[in-house]
């Protein structure tokens, strides 16, 4: 092959190559750059040939890794040269040197466009190639229609058409909003009839991009894809030049199967049958052969076929064939196949049925954990992590721990994290969990984050049975000579809290425990010393009767650190010293730590945050759906201290007697309202309280589908009689809870929590998390919705619709149709409160994940109490106001029965939580409460509201409430609102049981059992 070279370029390249070291190379390069710069400055004397030569030299220098910050202009200007050789160089060098964000590219747009629409095929090719490789937004805006036209032009030859297809693909992929593909389904179908396999390959890539964004409109392409696949698989009418090592274009086969994976399902039985025939042929007919390339190509097709089979959720038989194949692959010698076998097995875990079959390969997978190739080890680790459950956790975690000692540095952190998560989720018993984590700290302390040992402390604190065991284990480790500092921290903490439980064992007297801990003090850093000081104080406290010698020793240590430069240490030393002189009072102050409120494992959260791998993600998703081990679930069920139950409009219905009484009371109020107050009329009548309970209960809205359906049937007939549009709204979600995607966490609880605080998570499922953050000022509010895509693929067709109640003005800013992978978008919602009302705004939210449509209706926490602002009144302000508002409709009184029994301080807290401030001591009767607040709305402006509650010490389940304000509607709404808060009783989780039970029974039980209720409250 004759090399039509440029002599100057070759000479320069040889010079650079002959440089003996890097410095001389730099000298030579700098000299050349200087030369080029001067030549470019005086552009007139430059022949096209020279210009071309210098631009090539620039590219070469650039490739060597030197900065080339000039000459871009010259490269770009070559694009407009009239002759092919210069133009070609211009296009190629520009697309190598610049990226889509460079301003210089703008200069070329016109020339590029002229080349694309011109008649010169070779120019068209150059221009399409460059735009296809680096085209950005501006190119998309000005060129997409031309490229589209060219692609469809019947006179367009294959060499141009395939470039046009890929060029369009680039423009569309980068800026789907700019490229108009309306009506392209027919054109794509037409393009798929192409006989030229080169063109078809490019067109198929384009189709993959189009269907990945929106498969709905491209249904007509589906049968054609299956046809193409059949043609290739049967090797019909495939020219020799398009077979690769005897395989009809493996790339086109792979692409076609990729496109098919974007369609949710194949309904047409004939098409489905022919596709399965092809897939079956690929699955069964792929043999391992000697030629590497042939092997790779055929397995590329095979793995894509596996993916398609998994996607189509084929018949069980085919699926088990796939697992069998993968089982074979993970044991072969060829490392690529082993790698892909493990990777695809992890993906396969998503198909629930095959888990047991995969477990059969556990031994082989564990062997891969010791593979010489880190890529394979990573896959094996992910797969083990994904396949772990209660049955095999012990084996797998122990295997991981063993591997930890020899694992390479790059994997240790991940390994430690994964072992910790699995141990937590699937521990067969808690002592095993403690063992595992302590071993983990012992072997890889550097990679065990604080989260992990905090979690151990939490578990031990919350499980009394575990405490002596944990303390004994901690002592065992402390006896070792060299310890990781994290081990010192956790052991010291555990021994401080629980070593007194070991006191009868040999070597565990307080003195001995103290001395083994104190031995470590000189070896630890300043972050650990405070923990040790706390431990000393605790040991001293637990030593009964006091041991003067030990006491003096510890005091001496506190004394020593009283002047420590580290504030934390100093403060602890001073305080513990002072406290320890208090004698008996020390017992109270340094008593054991109370149980921790149960919280989400920060480990799992962290794991999710650091995940990037899709296969890994699928495993994590799977994890979150799986049953956890019983050992840990027990502790998980403890009611959380943090959640305030006040906002919970729970499903407990009123006992029938009081319900009737209340219904009567409500009727009275209604009659009253209708009779005397025409103003109340627009405000819908309230149905009897137990019906209200049904409507607003979590059951009605977020209960499990089965229960929700039955609840709906129960409720709807009752409702139809009630002309209450606003309340019907609250019911609306019931019928549409047919989502297959399960939300994470309880939506009702999230909503109630948000009623009392201003930021938090409103909704979460495996794909999306919706958080809110709100600011309220007078009758205005701004609630920002944070829509976070948790995945590595985009969420599409995102729609958010606000169903506003009449009293709120709601403006939601534009919600984007697509949420990019792992991105979060913020959508502010402006809220204005027009009138007092307890009705709720509902967010109708939907999106598509892959092919699964998800739709949820969520209540928005723009509730009445958000427009309340606390105000504290003194007696001389309160009483005149109270007296001036005399009698209905401005002052309403009601006897409320079926109240959850609360002590007065608890009730005050409840009131405070929704901004109604209790003024203590205003009412002379200690059983009464007086409270005030300011309500803001457009119609009422700022309005003072006064509340008085008279409780009956002999019967906590009833009280008399009086509410007064300057606006009759407000008085009524506020009274009802407070009533809702008072009569709601949070129940433990088993929703369906209550749902099926008729009203009277279960609630009576709850009311009868104040202990249970208090447990719920705390």
């Amino acid at each position: 092959m004759a090399l039509s070279g440029m002599r100057g370029l070759s000479v320069f390249i040889s010079d650079v190559r002959n440089c003996p070291n890097k410095e001389q190379e730099r000298v030579r390069v700098d000299k050349e750059l200087g030369n080029i710069r001067t030549r470019f400055k005086n552009e007139k004397g430059l022949t096209p040939y020279e210009k071309k030569k210098y631009v090539w030299k620039m590219l070469y220098i650039y490739m060597l890794g030197y900065d080339v910050d000039f000459g871009h202009m010259e490269a770009v200007s070559l694009i407009s040269a009239p002759k092919y050789p210069e133009k070609q160089v211009g296009y190629i060098v520009t697309s190598c040197l610049l990226n889509e964000n460079h301003d210089f590219l703008r200069l070329a747009i016109n020339t590029v466009r002229n080349d694309i629409i011109g008649r010169n095929e070779t120019f068209q090719c150059l221009a399409l190639t460059m735009v296809g490789n680096i085209g950005g937004r501006e190119f998309a805006e000005s060129l997409a229609p031309d490229v589209q036209k060219l692609l469809m032009l019947s006179s367009c030859r294959p060499l141009v058409r395939k470039k046009a297809a890929l060029c369009l693909l680039r423009l569309y992929r980068k800026n789907p909003d700019v490229v108009n593909v309306d009506g392209w389904s027919d054109r794509m179908a037409q393009l798929l009839d192409e006989r030229d396999l080169g063109v078809l390959t490019s067109v198929m890539s384009l189709l993959v991009a189009l269907v990945s964004n929106n498969h709905d409109v491209y249904w007509s392409c589906l049968p054609k894809c299956v046809k193409i696949l059949e043609r290739l698989a049967r090797n019909q009418d495939v020219p020799q030049e398009y077979t690769y090592y005897g395989i009809p274009s493996p790339w086109l086969q792979v692409k076609t199967m990729r496109a098919l994976q974007y369609f949710p399902a194949i309904e047409d039985p004939n098409i489905r049958r022919s596709l399965f025939e092809v897939l079956q042929r690929i699955l069964m007919g792929t043999d391992v052969v000697k030629n590497v390339n042939k092997n790779n190509a055929s397995h590329a097709v095979l793995f894509e076929a596996l993916a398609l089979v998994m996607h189509l959720d084929a018949e069980k038989e085919m699926m088990s064939q796939c697992v069998a194949l993968l089982g074979k692959f993970i044991a072969v010698r060829e490392p690529n196949i082993r790698y892909l076998g493990l990777e695809n097995m992890t993906r396969m875990l998503m198909v629930a049925d095959v888990q047991d079959i995969i477990k059969r390969h556990q031994a082989q997978i564990i062997t891969s954990l010791k593979d010489p190739d880190i890529s394979i080890r990573r896959r094996a680790l992910d797969l083990l992590y994904g396949m772990c459950d209660v049955t095999n956790a012990k084996d797998i975690v122990e295997e991981l721990l063993q591997y930890l000692s020899t694992a390479d540095f790059a994997m240790r952190e991940e390994l430690a994290l994964k072992a910790a998560i699995l141990a937590e989720k699937f521990a067969p018993d808690l002592s095993w969990y403690v063992d595992v984590i302590l071993q983990l700290i012992d072997k890889a302390g550097d990679f065990v984050s604080d989260d992990i040992w905090f979690r151990v402390v939490q578990f031990v604190t919350n499980n009394e049975d575990l405490q002596p065991y944990a303390a004994a284990k901690a002592k065992e480790y402390m006896d070792k000579p060299a310890l990781h500092e994290t081990m010192v921290k956790v052991s010291a903490y555990l021994l401080g809290e629980y070593s007194h439980l070991l006191v009868r064992r040999p070597g565990c007297s307080p003195k001995e425990i103290f001395s083994i801990i104190h031995e470590k003090l000189p070896t630890v850093s300043t972050t650990t010393i405070p923990i040790l000081l706390s431990t000393y104080a605790k040991i001293m406290m637990h030593t009964q009767p006091p041991d003067p010698e030990l006491q003096d020793h510890i005091w001496a240590i506190f004394n020593k650190y009283e002047s420590c430069i580290d504030v934390e240490i100093q403060q602890r030393a001073v305080e513990y010293f002072a406290l320890s002189r208090k004698g008996a009072a020390l017992m109270d102050i340094l008593a054991e730590m109370p149980k921790f409120p149960e919280r989400q494992s920060s480990l799992l959260k962290k794991a999710e945050d650091t995940e990037i791998d899709t296969a890994e993600q699928s495993a994590i998703k799977l994890r979150s759906q799986q049953q956890m081990s019983n050992a840990l679930v027990v502790t998980d069920q403890r009611p959380s201290n943090g959640s305030l139950p006040v906002g919970q409009l729970s499903l407990v219905k009123m006992p029938s007697i009081s319900s009737n009484a209340d219904a009567n009371a409500a009727d009275e109020v209604l009659a009253h309202a209708n009779g005397t107050l025409s103003k109340v009329d627009p405000q819908p009548a309230t149905p009897s309280p137990d019906l209200l309970g049904d409507l607003l209960s979590p059951l009605a809205i977020e209960g499990p589908p089965g229960a929700a359906v039955s609840a709906q049937q129960n409720v709807v007939p009752g409702l139809e009689g009630v002309p209450n549009a606003a309340d019907a709204l609250a019911l609306a979600p019931v019928g549409e809870q047919s989502n297959s995607i399960q939300p994470i966490g309880n939506i009702a609880e999230r909503f109630h929590a948000l009623c009392l605080k201003d930021s938090g998570v409103l909704y979460e499922d495996p794909y999306i998390q919706i958080g809110t953050k709100a600011e309220w000022r007078a009758h205005h509010g701004r609630l920002v919705l944070f829509l976070g895509n948790k995945n590595t693929s985009p969420l599409v067709s995102v729609k958010a619709l606000i169903l506003p109640p009449a009293h709120l003005k709601l403006e939601l800013s534009l919600v984007p149709e697509t949420i990019p992978p792992r991105a979060q978008v913020q959508c502010p919602l402006e809220v204005a409160n027009l009138r007092p009302s307890r009705d709720l705004a509902v967010l109708d939210f939907s999106y598509m994940f892959g092919t699964t449509p998800v739709n949820v209706k969520l209540r928005l926490p723009a509730v009445l109490n958000k427009f309340l602002q606390p105000i504290t009144l003194a007696g001389e302000e309160f009483f005149p106001q109270w007296r001036s508002l005399s009698g209905p409709p401005l002052k309403l009184q009601e006897v409320v029965r079926g109240v959850k029994p609360l002590s007065l301080p608890e009730m005050s807290n409840l009131f405070n939580s929704f901004h109604v401030v209790v003024a203590p001591g205003l009412d002379p009767n200690p059983n009464n409460l007086v409270a005030s607040t300011t309500f803001f709305s457009e119609s009422t402006r700022a309005m003072l509201c006064l509340i008085r509650v008279e409780t009956d010490p002999s019967d906590r389940t009833q009280l008399r409430m009086t509410v007064a304000s300057g606006d009759p509607i407000l008085t009524y709404e506020l009274k009802e609102f407070i009533k809702e808060q008072l009569i709601s009783i949070p129940t433990p989780t088993p929703v369906p049981a209550v749902a099926s039970a008729p009203a009277p029974t279960s609630p009576v039980n709850s009311v009868m059992d104040p202990g249970a209720m208090l447990a719920g409250l705390l």
């Binding site: 190559r17 680039r170 086109l252 490392p335 892909l340 899709t614």
Partner: protein, 161 residues
């Protein structure tokens, strides 16, 4: 999609780079530095895949040269591995048993060839014959232009004698 193509020699010298996703100059050098560290240190008989920053790099060594292509996590690795081989076969046919020196002194030709194989990080043509034909046509266009230029300058030279 393929995000970039790298050709690195065993000594870590870059022989060709092509970026289909936008990377700044700084990022490009960083990527090259990092990846040559990872890939050149891998022993023989390992898989051809390296997991790197949430992407995968498929690479294959031919004599003293490493051909690397960076793809997304869920792309088909073996398909890319054979794109590499396909590209190498085309280079081989074009240069006639290609060696590293061919690619050093004719790096610009390697770019022409690559542009006929890949666009937008996707395979454009899987027929070696078609690619060879197109490259030959381009070469002859350049040759013709050169001859024309020569004859014109000859004529001018003669006329002004």
């Amino acid at each position: 999609m393929i995000h970039f193509v790298l050709l690195i020699s065993r000594q870590g010298k870059v022989r060709l780079t092509k970026w289909y996703s936008p990377y700044s100059q700084k990022e490009r050098s960083k990527v090259i530095r990092e990846l040559s560290g990872v890939i050149l240190s891998r022993g023989p008989k390992l898989s051809n895949f390296v997991e790197w920053r949430g992407y995968k790099v498929v690479y294959k060594r031919y004599a003293s040269l490493y051909f690397c292509m960076c793809i997304d996590q869920d792309d088909n690795e073996l398909e890319i591995l054979e794109i590499i081989h396909h590209f190498v076969e085309i280079l081989d046919r074009y240069f006639g048993s290609v060696c590293e020196l061919d690619l050093i002194f004719n790096f610009h030709k390697a770019y022409y060839v690559l542009d006929e194989v890949l666009i937008a990080g996707e395979l454009q043509e899987s027929s070696k014959k078609t690619v060879a034909r197109l490259i030959a046509a381009q070469d002859s266009l350049v040759e013709t232009a050169k001859e024309q230029a020569n004859s014109i300058s000859n004529m001018i030279a003669q006329a002004t004698k």
